[in-house]
């Protein structure tokens, strides 16, 4: 908390604090190995490298990264489910995933090595947030294909903490367990943590009755204002954690108690910032699109994966002793993806649902709001003659049908609002499909 001197703990000092020169050597060596695996085992990478006239031998150091092709989320969709797997299928011990752009999920296969690498990344994040063997770690991320729950779980287990795998939902029960078990750390989305904090207050529980001291919060964008509010509500240090299933899951980058940017796990991934238009790498400090290359994964390694997240990197020394560069908060997206309660939503997914329904207008607008710290997605759809009826039951049936269909494709509940014809603004050129009122 504010004012108290910070005691920095490290999970793997050798890797987390190695000199930049050593790190560069290590990254170059691991990159060479990864490129060889990809070229030999994944048809898509081989074809793309051949098309560029690049052979695995051409990749000698991290400087040669720019010779390699990019990977996009669409590649994971096109190669669904196993096309990008580089290891023998019998070596895959885990599938994790997220929603895709057209209803097909994105799935990633993990070898035991990948699960271990991922678990260590989260273990480092938990350690950096002050966690360890003596902690009781309450996990309220959802468990399942989504990497939040299992990711935090594995990391907490790795540091030897007492893990409470609550998953999401049932807030009063979450609070009862946190209080009775004396949870010292909390892992969940920042908005849910805020909601828990507000509910604890409403229930009349005093902060001193809780033993919480810190937490790792991620899977959605948040702000310094939200952090200040959350730290005040729960009396904790709130650290940001970043990740994406394509690169391994949460822990790809995480904050230490200095809370000034997330250290990228650079012995496991190589991070670049590129100009999203020219695709040229940008120097540290400049804002651009975040791109990751995995160098320790064997199940489904990724070369130059474009996240579409916009941020900048900071290589200045950190008081915690870690030498890994820090990524600043994500300031936006190069595409129109929005994140709702940890779920990635693309307007095109909603569009495909509407276009696929008889008599439903393809004109829509997504409205994102944060109500009681929880993100709500509203979908405005224009009424058409075919849709409109003089009976309430017919209109509600249609509205609920759209709602159900969106839920089955996108994976989250939305509020569907039918609006009069031509009330959604038509724009020339690229249509504006999202109104985000969250003020993140």
């Amino acid at each position: 908390m504010k004012g108290t001197p910070k005691e920095h703990k490290l999970y793997n000092p050798k890797m987390e604090c190695m000199s930049r020169e050593e790190l560069r050597e290590l990254q170059s060596k691991r990159l060479r190995e990864t490129v060889k695996i990809e070229y030999e085992n994944v048809a898509l990478y081989r074809a793309r490298m051949d098309a560029r006239g690049v052979k695995p031998e051409d990749i000698k150091t991290v400087d040669d990264l720019r010779l390699l092709p990019f990977t996009q989320k669409t590649d994971l969709r096109d190669e669904f489910p196993f096309g990008l797997i580089a290891a023998p299928k019998s070596e895959i011990v885990r599938i994790q995933g997220s929603s895709g752009t057209t209803g097909k999920p994105i799935v990633v296969g993990y070898t035991q090595n990948d699960v271990d690498v991922w678990a260590e990344m989260v273990a480092r994040a938990i350690t950096a947030a002050g966690g360890g063997k003596d902690d009781i770690i309450h996990i309220a991320y959802g468990y399942g294909l989504f990497t939040g729950g299992l990711g935090a779980h594995q990391g907490a287990a790795k540091v030897g903490a007492m893990v409470v795998p609550m998953s999401s939902g049932n807030t009063p029960r979450q609070i009862m367990m946190m209080k009775e078990l004396g949870a010292t750390m909390l892992c969940c989305t920042p908005s849910y943590a805020t909601f828990l904090g507000e509910t604890i207050r409403e229930m009349g529980i005093k902060p001193e009755e809780m033993r919480l001291k810190s937490g790792c919060f991620g899977a959605e964008p948040w702000s310094e204002e939200m952090r200040a509010n959350l730290e005040e509500l729960l009396g904790i240090d709130a650290c940001d954690i970043y990740g994406l299933v394509e690169i391994g899951g949460p822990g790809v980058a995480f904050e230490c108690l200095e809370k000034h940017g997330m250290h990228v796990s650079e012995d496991n991934v190589i991070v670049e910032i590129i100009d999203p238009v020219t695709e040229e790498p940008l120097p540290y400090g400049e804002s651009g699109e975040l791109v990751f290359t995995t160098i320790m994964k064997t199940g489904m390694p990724m070369l130059r994966y474009r996240t579409h997240d916009i941020c900048s990197l900071d290589a200045s020394p950190c008081k915690c002793g870690r030498t890994h560069v820090r990524m600043e908060r994500i300031t936006g997206r190069t595409d129109d993806m929005i994140i709702i309660r940890g779920v990635n939503v693309f307007p095109s997914q909603i569009e495909s649902v509407l276009v696929g329904m008889d008599g439903v207008s393809p004109h829509y607008m997504l409205i994102v709001d944060r109500v009681n710290s929880t993100d709500k997605l509203g979908v405005q759809v224009e009424l058409t003659n075919e849709m409109f009826s003089d009976t309430v039951a017919e209109i509600e049936k249609l509205r609920d049908g759209i709602k159900e269909k969106i839920k089955s494709v996108v994976g989250i509940s939305v509020k569907v609002q039918l609006v009069p014809p031509k009330s959604i603004p038509r724009s020339e050129g690229k249509a504006k499909r999202v109104i985000d009122n969250r003020n993140i």
Partner: protein, 145 residues
């Protein structure tokens, strides 16, 4: 025999009903009957107006961006005495037809009440109404109100 009803979709936003009535007023349209179905998210206004104004009303509302639709409903006359409405519903109950909605409105003919009925199957019930001498109004009769 049917009469024409106009249905208008309204978002549940303060001021939208007034927007509609203002438009009708400006176009000199007289409302014979009006009912509003309200839900938490939207409303449907049902209007009966004289034939001469129907197209004008539909067009002016459409041009102003309202979702408007015409459909057929039944208008019946119910005597002003206890049990008269029950008698009508009993006739409908003899069939397996259900009532989607109904509303009475503010014109009385010789002290009797007028009702608009929207049924799941109108044809069969209209035949029964004729047999049982339940008075139905035509659009011409509405026009003369």
């Amino acid at each position: 025999m049917y009469i024409t009803q106009i249905s208008v979709y309204l978002e549940n936003v303060r001021g939208t009903l007034r927007e509609m009535t203002k438009l009708l007023a400006e176009n000199d349209i007289d409302i014979v009957a009006l009912s509003i179905a309200d839900t938490t998210n939207f409303g449907i206004v049902r209007l009966v107006i004289r034939e001469v104004s129907i197209d004008k009303a539909v067009n002016c509302m459409k041009n102003a961006g309202f979702m408007v639709k015409k459909n057929n409903v039944i208008c019946i006359c119910v005597p002003n005495k206890p049990g008269a409405l029950d008698n009508v519903l009993a006739v409908i109950e003899e069939t397996d037809v259900s009532i989607e909605y109904m509303y009475s409105f503010n014109y009385s003919v010789n002290g009797d009440a007028l009702f608009i009925l929207r049924l799941s199957d109108s044809e069969r019930v209209m035949e029964l109404f004729k047999e049982r001498n339940i008075k139905m109004y035509s659009q011409e009769e509405i026009n003369r109100l």
